[in-house]
Symmetry: C2
Amino acid sequence: MLLLIGLGVGDARDISLRGLEAARKADKVYVELYTSKFSSSVEEIAEIIGREVEVLSRSDLEENCWKIVEEARDRDVAVLIPGDPMVATTHVILRLEARKRGVESRVIHSSSVVSAVCGATGLQVYRFGKVATVSWTKSRAPIDVLKANESIDAHTLLLLDVDMSVSDAVEILVETDGSLAEKFAVGVARIGWEPVLACDRLAKLTGYEFGDLPHCIVVLAPTLHIVEYEYLSAFANAPKELEVLVR
Amino acid sequence: MLLLIGLGVGDARDISLRGLEAARKADKVYVELYTSKFSSSVEEIAEIIGREVEVLSRSDLEENCWKIVEEARDRDVAVLIPGDPMVATTHVILRLEARKRGVESRVIHSSSVVSAVCGATGLQVYRFGKVATVSWTKSRAPIDVLKANESIDAHTLLLLDVDMSVSDAVEILVETDGSLAEKFAVGVARIGWEPVLACDRLAKLTGYEFGDLPHCIVVLAPTLHIVEYEYLSAFANAPKELEVLVR
């Protein structure tokens, strides 16, 4: 059986008890660290699992993924994945390949930035629209998503490309579309155990020190719920002028 | 310190290693089981934590939440919460109350249906719009969200009220707006370890046996990515006619 096991949103201690037990019992344990930035090293992951852990390259998991699938035909093979597995298309394709070859597979979930961002920012899960990614290759794609979400009064979670900080992302976004500079947003670093966050107009977020990666940004919807406003004031030092959004 | 610890999406073994260690070390452990349906009993949770666990009522966590906050002033008090904490407004208000009273608080994340639904259905996280809830009190609210999401070509995750099955929800939705009957949707039961899912036109989902709760529904966006279609065909027995949505 092929087991896709989430490592969770912070570091390797965010793995679930179910995931930990499954990894410890598996015949072979791999880890995939290229689809997202992760705070634990392979050594730290191996120490927590109590097992040797082999790192997969992109090609192991993409064009050559049939090899892992075949390895899982008669043995339990675990693939550890930062966050919640299957959020990346790569993992979906891996499970499809397993199904095509008649090899059983299972997913063991863990925490993901997609829901944890609510805990970090106090913003309501019901108020988020589509997620988008800001990449080093400048593109209007995240801005189109942001405008679509605005049209339905939704917040936008912007995930950032590997090694990209809040400041880097803000520069790319504002250079692509100057009208974004004045929008209210929240910069968040290291969602997980001790997140650092700041709420201000997007262009002003470059003035904050967020510290180590990973970072992400939430661009706020055109309106806010009063509890969202209170939370951002209490925990993200939101400016008083944010109050104009409260409905 | 007040610790809000997620129990995760399936049962108590979905708690994170970090959450488990924190709960074991806390001076007092509570559990909140009324904001969502959870597959583990209090006894099972207590056994996994290895500690006595006291159940909180709605009033303990709402109008009287100051009592827990005060208890956490000089001791470590853990509140275990199904899924990922802070997804419910109740938990956000609890943290705000702690901040107002100068009591430290932390969140320990776990898996949530909001991201796990991607793993179960193979649908891409980037393609989901706002989440909505179908409640026993008939309302157009979830339908309005669904139409808003459609306007930006997004999938809609519908969470169901306590004790509501896919069939119950479909009946309520279709009675409220008959035009929904023909939309393609995915019914999902017990997201977590062994999900059961079926993809068909919404009205036809009443003909499937999903088994034990909790259930949820994803109403599909007006278009599908080819990998989404392939996954639903392989794992959710999607009808061939779904192919018309692929762009």
